[in-house]
């Protein structure tokens, strides 16, 4: 039986507000590790900034490497937050209510992580703002034909919209926090809750805005990752120039994002003691969703291979064959093992309901999806059109450090968010409980009625 359905409203407030005060000791350990990782990354970036991009060990055919694959990975991860909160909001799937808040936070912070990578990747970071279409005295505009410019616009739009979506959805909860907090927290929540009093008019406006934002975010999210896919699909590099890349990227994004939601689900449940809210029932539903998306992704992956195989393009053939038997074979086969084979474990109910098994599997899937991004970028460059430049390059220490730091940075932001803001939506969980009560009360009444009828009928029969 789902324990969440019987929670008292007052307890919801108490539990969620308590999560802001007393997390398990693991919280501080993870936070410390993440901060150290971030510091290492900053050191690596300073080193790279001072010496030039050569220290990252990219070279001539490999002009792009881990920075770009990390960029796709993090942008991809942000997509599931939108899926979970906006799509499931519009389709009225109630089980999203206890977990959508942290999924939205995940969206925002993974965009903030992703946004670092094109910057770190640039040869002359200090001129980054030239990518933005701002009016200047030289009347020089950026090149609107370049997918990188679309990227810059898409990231800005997406980051702004998802930050707004997260914030708007949080306002009623911030008001609850304001009413219960002291000290700096009271001031913070007081400003951020915008004077929310819970009047009917406020709720109506709130609901309208929230649903509208949801409607806006769904197509936006799809377009953002399609644009990221255009970075590759618009080029003429063999095995990048593929028409099916945009849907393939979107599916991959949702896939790795759903896996990330499972990881964070288990982490939050443990660290902030949310056992009563993040139930196994919800975990199973997320697992089912992940499984479905995994199948879509696999289908698109296979159709991409098929399209290349039957295309009669010798350059693309070469890259495809080199992917599987060339120097990057561990990456490609690792991806297939982690993202194609492993998710079939989710076909079993027992597995779906096992918390730690799902935690492990979600990490495996994310590893697979990270490898997938790497195998999109590197093997194509390694066997490009020009055989004279063929070379195999593996990422160096600087790139790997910055990659590790990005994971630290994301987790750090995320944990701080969960410590400062309510990571379970209080008002929506209350709605869920209320809804359940009403339904169950009605059915109880109906049962009583039936009993009464039966008794009357029995008495009539006796008569």
């Amino acid at each position: 039986m789902d324990s969440m359905k019987d929670i008292e409203w007052a307890r919801i407030n108490k539990d969620v507000l308590g999560s802001l005060e007393t997390p398990r000791i693991t919280f501080w350990i993870v936070l410390a590790v993440c901060s150290v990782l971030v510091l290492c990354g900053v050191a690596a970036e300073v080193y790279q900034y001072n010496n030039g991009l050569g220290v990252a060990l990219m070279d001539r055919p490999h002009f792009w490497q881990l920075y770009i694959s990390n960029f796709i990975f993090w942008i991809g991860m942000s997509h599931s937050g939108t899926l979970l909160s906006a799509v499931l909001l519009l389709t009225k799937a109630d089980w999203r209510k206890p977990i959508y808040r942290f999924a939205e936070a995940m969206t925002l912070f993974s965009i903030l992580t992703a946004a670092f990578f094109p910057v770190i990747h640039l040869g002359r970071v200090w001129n980054l703002y030239w990518v933005l279409p701002y009016p200047d005295e030289r009347t020089i505009w950026p090149n609107f034909r370049s997918p990188l410019l679309w990227d810059a616009s898409a990231i800005f739009t997406y980051a702004t919209s998802s930050a707004l979506f997260l914030y708007i959805g949080m306002i009623p909860d911030l008001a609850i926090c304001r009413d219960n907090a002291r000290g700096w927290r009271k001031a913070l929540y007081g400003v951020m809750s915008l004077g929310w009093m819970g009047r009917a008019r406020e709720w109506i406006a709130f609901r309208k805005t929230y649903v509208l934002m949801g409607c806006f975010l769904v197509p936006l999210a799809v377009s953002v990752h399609s644009i990221v896919a255009s970075d590759f699909a618009m080029s003429i590099v063999p095995d990048w120039h593929i028409t099916s890349f945009p849907p393939y990227f979107v599916a991959g994004a949702l896939y790795s994002g759903c896996a990330a939601i499972i990881t964070l689900f288990v982490m939050l449940r443990y660290i902030f003691k949310f056992e009563a809210y993040m139930t196994i029932d919800i975990l199973e539903k997320v697992a089912k969703l992940t499984f479905a998306i995994a199948m879509v992704w696999n289908y698109l992956n296979l159709s991409e291979y098929a399209a290349i195989w039957y295309s009669n393009d010798m350059y693309e053939h070469e890259v495809l064959i080199q992917k599987f038997i060339g120097p990057y074979w561990p990456v490609v086969w690792g991806m297939i093992l982690c993202s194609t084979v492993a998710p079939f474990a989710m076909a079993f109910k027992k597995f779906r309901q096992n918390l730690w098994a799902m935690f492990f599997l979600s990490l495996v899937i994310q590893l697979g999806m990270w490898l997938e991004r790497f195998q999109i970028v590197s093997p194509s460059l390694a066997s490009n059109h020009e055989p004279w430049t063929w070379a195999v390059v593996w990422p160096g220490l600087v790139q790997l450090t910055i990659t590790a730091a990005s994971f630290g940075w994301f987790t750090m932001l995320f944990l701080i968010f969960c410590k400062v803001f309510p990571s379970v939506s209080m008002y929506e969980v209350k709605e869920l409980v209320f809804h359940h009560r009403r339904v169950s009360a009605r059915s109880e009444l109906e049962d009583l009625g039936k009993e009464k009828d039966a008794t009357i009928r029995a008495q009539e029969g006796m008569a």
Partner: protein
């Protein structure tokens, strides 16, 4: 201002033959029969264009800045070996020197094919549309120009170039190539004052010696014929240095220019595919099937394999 001008001339911009009325269209023809792979062109390019010498280690990592490079290709061995080459070349250039990474231990006597590879100044350049800041663009005289000052180093152009002839300044080579110092005196005097020394984080590539073109155009203007540079009145550095005169450079809009005659005699034409050519002419353009419209024609090497 910029926007207004753009709107006024919109129809012009949309035309396919936007640059058709320009007097210049620079092109090249390289005869591979004449190329002996000596590398003089590459050396001349280093001297003319202020290219940094990156040193052995950087070269082996693929950081070399040779705008002009000699690529070497060997035929597949056809049974009998004439020269034995050790299985593992003991140079650190493994994978970058053009030595095929196979188990082939011997090559036929005929030796390598050489092909000088430089920026092909494509008319449908794949590098141009992808630059986010428009640092690379097409000039009216058919050059694929790179504006170093505008470049922010996103390196998308380098990926999208099928010839891989764009070179990125991974380090401040002029600073660090000399053990952390800038050029020791008097070596800085060898730099060409007609063009800049590029700093780290910038993409660079062959310009068809644009500084010499400008000088020649200026001279033509002073001589009273502003839109006509006489064929052969200036040469690119590689052309000037080639001992076998394998490289011919000139204005393809000028029907009397040697390069135009060569292109015509080999039935190579901009905007035309290879398919309707007769088979016994040697001219071809590298990766013509990608439809990037390169401005360099190569003339295939012919060998008498009976000898």
């Amino acid at each position: 201002m910029g926007l207004k001008r753009m709107l006024e001339n919109w129809s012009d911009f949309r035309k396919d033959d936007y640059y058709d009325n320009e007097p210049y269209m620079w092109g090249m023809a390289i005869d591979l029969n004449k190329c002996i792979g000596c590398g003089a062109c590459a050396t001349a390019c280093y001297a003319e264009n202020n290219l940094p010498v990156v040193g052995k280690e950087h070269y082996s990592r693929g950081y070399a800045m040779h705008w002009m490079r000699i690529e070497r290709y060997w035929d597949e061995p056809d049974g009998h070996a004439d020269i034995d080459i050790p299985e593992k070349p003991d140079t650190p250039m493994d994978g970058h020197a053009g030595i095929p990474q196979t188990d082939v231990v011997s090559f036929p006597e005929r030796g390598a094919h050489y092909i000088p590879m430089l920026c092909q100044q494509c008319n449908h350049a794949p590098c141009e549309p992808v630059c986010p800041v428009a640092a690379t663009y097409h000039t009216p005289d058919g050059l694929n120009a790179q504006v170093y000052n505008r470049c922010i180093g996103s390196r998308y152009c380098g990926n999208n170039c099928p010839y891989k002839v764009r070179y990125f300044n991974f380090f401040d080579f002029w600073e660090e190539g000399w053990h952390g110092e800038s050029l020791p005196h008097p070596l800085e005097l060898q730099l060409n004052p007609d063009l800049s020394v590029r700093s780290k984080g910038v993409m660079e590539k062959c310009t068809f010696c644009v500084q010499r073109q400008r000088a020649a155009k200026d001279a033509a203007e002073d001589a009273g014929h502003p839109n006509y540079v006489e064929d052969g009145s200036f040469m690119t550095a590689c052309q000037q240095t080639c001992p076998t005169q394998a490289i011919v450079f000139g204005n393809m809009k000028d029907p009397k220019a040697r390069v135009s005659k060569l292109w015509a005699s080999h039935q190579v034409e901009l905007g035309r595919t290879e398919q309707d050519k007769v088979s016994d002419v040697r001219g071809y353009r590298v990766f013509g099937e990608l439809n990037v419209e390169p401005c360099i024609m190569y003339m295939d090497r012919v060998r008498n394999i009976e000898v």
